[in-house]
Symmetry: C2
Subunit: 381 residues, 2 copies
């Protein structure tokens, strides 16, 4: 007995879109080119060298000297889970700041590894207030961690990572930081701000293909992981094992097989980090800020306003208020079908109320903004 | 304070290797070509269509009508973890057959989600005997699952999946099957054999790039997952959530955002499955068998013998006995450096005693075998 499919299948030839949603963002042709280079073995000496360079370039992007800095071989949500399940032991309390979708996801991750999440909320579109976090820390002296989202992709809000980390330290708490959308797009200084565990995604301001999650752990975080009383519940995400595969961050050394790394995706990440380094982190951040100003002016010219207050607004993720009487889904469908332009829908509490226009990495360009504003103008007129 | 790197980084241009180790295997140029196509959004209507076709093609490859059939967005070890943590609840007993590295990894996964692993061992290089599995089932009437590795990549041994599944069913046990190296290389019939949960890898006989893990769950397995008393401990691998993202297997339907799929890697998987379908599964399996015979004859011609007995030998993963007095590491290094040819080292109990020569997917070709035998002959002479 065999199961056959009569249908014939054709190769998938995707349309050429302009990606200005919440991610994936436009991938540079040079990164796509790197992606398609011939696959080598995951323990090939040349690949070990690529891994070492990737770690160095990630340390630069994160602004850290943390030895345990590398990409997890899975998307950003696995990076979040890696940080949580390695650090948090059953019964430990985590203050989680929630002001959008991804803080909520962190709460869920804490609960699933037996941690106790104390949730500090802020309305969608606002930042978590330091006062509310401080109140939670005072009410929960048993708390061991503060977790928060640096750049909330669902709302376009920036939380003050530096201040939250300083506050957490006053209460002897470690910090777990979601930098999925912030890395490479706004200022982020892991060592200077004293971040203990941080995860990001490849497909946002790094402009790499989706599927990898850069992470970094401070020495204190590593010590906490090594001192665990219970094993990390995930074998795949156990940093004690992954460090043996990725090496000690010093270059060279023997590697212990753990899983098979996604070789070609790592070619692409290496190339995208190389481009970031060649541009310079400060220059890339300045470009995001400049492009945001340009987009804001262009949108204002066609009567569109941003949701988020200026001082907490993300340049790389713009939540644009949908004017009364405008059909959200129809506008996005026309942009996609007539202009091959993707912008994002609102999520959760903001569904139907905003569009999300991403200016991430390679997509944060004059060309994209001119095209986006002109296309929106046509569709809205 | 900024952390800078003075070093300049060059794009990584990998050597062009011939990959005849335990995986990744040689990737077809058409698959690499698909990989590098322009990225679209992961909720783009064209991408949803690609997801639907990928599910259909995976059903064909697995020979199943299981609706819950899709790739996990991470390597095979995450696929193993997905099967275990979704199905096994704390306190439940799993009979795990161990005759190499990967059965041992399954034991570890069962323990980390609170399951109780009863281990049935066989020596490295041999298959798990039905008698020993039956004895374990009789001694453990509380067992709910039997887990085993269909094609043990560390030894080149095939376990009799059909017979083990029939035995498990007699004891009302579900089956969890590691098909990382078997899918597309030897006969594997998920529905006919009554397999309940199965995982594979993209980088073996499918000849896709590494990083994805196709999985499939029977209706009974889905019912077990839905009836769980405790939540799945992994948010990222929770099939209850993933099914909302990948859809119900019927095509069409609204998708709920879970994580961001590795868009480009899925282009490649789609293309590699399309090639398998175009060749025909039976033809691909026959090709692996034919190439194995050719390799065996070629190796015999230069005095090399295979470790594993003929009736349990994998055609796609050949463990070759290293002759006395031959320097294992030096031979592999010379093959790599002088011929750009990768073969695998022995693992665990077989380290230093065997080489592992893979004939997987696109790498199972006359050209590769002629080259491998000729190169080995030169290096050994």
């Amino acid at each position: 007995m065999s199961i056959n499919i009569e249908q014939q299948y054709a190769s998938f030839i995707p349309p050429v879109r302009t990606l200005m949603g919440p991610g994936p963002s436009d991938v540079s042709p040079t990164v796509l080119n790197a992606l398609a280079r011939p696959t080598v073995g995951h323990l090939d000496p040349t690949f070990i060298q690529l891994m070492d360079e990737t770690k160095q370039l990630l340390q630069y992007a994160f602004q850290t000297k943390n030895k345990l800095t590398m990409p997890i071989s899975a998307p950003g949500s696995a990076g979040m889970e890696a940080c949580v399940v390695n650090l948090v032991e059953p019964g430990e309390t985590v203050i989680v700041c929630q002001n959008g979708v991804f803080g909520g996801r962190m709460v869920e991750n804490v609960a699933r590894c037996g941690g106790i999440a104390v949730v500090v909320t802020a309305p969608w579109g606002e930042a978590n207030s330091l006062a509310s976090i401080e109140a939670a820390l005072e009410a929960h002296p048993e708390a061991k961690f503060v977790g928060f989202v640096h750049a909330e992709t669902s709302t376009g809000v920036r939380n003050d990572a530096q201040a939250i980390c300083a506050l957490a330290r006053q209460f002897d708490c470690m910090t777990i930081v979601d930098a999925v959308t912030s890395l490479g797009g706004i200022e982020l200084k892991v060592d200077e701000w004293g971040i203990d565990a941080i995860y990001s995604g490849s497909q946002k301001c790094l402009s790499c293909v989706p599927g990898l999650s850069p992470v970094s752990f401070s020495d204190a975080a590593v010590a906490k992981i090594q001192a665990r009383k219970s094993p990390v519940q995930s074998w795949f995400l156990d940093m004690n094992l992954i460090v043996g595969y990725w090496g000690d961050g010093q270059g060279g050394g023997k590697r212990a097989y753990h899983h098979t790394a996604p070789v070609n995706s790592l070619y692409a990440l290496h190339e995208s980090l190389r481009l970031l380094h060649a541009e310079g982190l400060d220059n890339a951040i300045a470009r995001h800020a400049r492009m945001h100003e340009k987009l804001k002016a262009g949108l204002a010219g066609i009567g569109l306003e941003l949701l988020v207050a200026k001082d907490i607004r993300l340049p790389q993720l713009n939540t644009v208020i949908i004017p009364d009487g405008v059909d959200d889904a129809q506008v996005r469908a026309r942009l996609l079908n007539e202009f091959d332009l993707e912008i994002g829908a609102g999520l959760g509490a903001l569904a139907g109320k905003v569009w999300r226009i991403g200016l991430m990495g390679f997509a944060a360009s004059d060309k994209n903004i001119d095209f986006c504003v002109a296309s929106l103008k046509k569709v809205l007129s």
